[in-house]
Symmetry: C2
Subunit: 139 residues, 2 copies
Amino acid sequence: MASKFYTIEPIGAVHSELTRLEDAPMQGDEGAPEAWLELTSLAAPGLLGIRAGDELIVLTWLHLAERDVLQVHPRGDLNRPLTGVFATRSPDRPNPVGLHRVQVLEVIEHKLRVAPLEAIDKTPVIDIKPVLAASTSDR
Amino acid sequence: MASKFYTIEPIGAVHSELTRLEDAPMQGDEGAPEAWLELTSLAAPGLLGIRAGDELIVLTWLHLAERDVLQVHPRGDLNRPLTGVFATRSPDRPNPVGLHRVQVLEVIEHKLRVAPLEAIDKTPVIDIKPVLAASTSDR
């Protein structure tokens, strides 16, 4: 298959007290803290209409992930059989996009305070989408 | 903010009877058909462990989207106020990543038959993740 490549330009970055991967929980609901998402001035107009209380899906680029990994032991547990990365939530995968469901706590200009977020400080943010209330079909 | 760019290399593509954007429903649960996801031979080992019946989140690159759009009228309805793209599911946005929740109907080698999928034929697939049964926090 002929593959065309595409370029991701981050729309912002995470500011978090989490600075080390080894301190970050694997999922947001495993004790992750709140964090700020700071958008670039270029992308900031895309926030119009987002308010405290909104439920969002934040897409990040897991910039420290290993992109040449295709099979892992889930959650690093060697007792679990080798599994394809597309059947796991491992950050290591060809295109390391992170999905994070968060609630908006505060909006100040081009910054959103959100929780919970397990991504570490300086993780690039590549997209933000609303959770659709009417269904779960596209979360 | 200094922004580093990242490169997306598709892991496969959608094969669908939907060939025109104007025929595609806006969301999977709005009458979208089944489709095949065909992975590249390079990415195929990442499917190990995926079985018929699994619920997945497919991430696509909406290659026909306009990337310089930051505000839209939701669902193209001019009666709705101009809204930031990050508060909508518009395909037009700086990094046009599509999220699609699907069920696996069949797995044949490096191809998955899934439903429902509103993405059109030839849409690049960039990642596949399992839906986490234990929580909805990261969908």
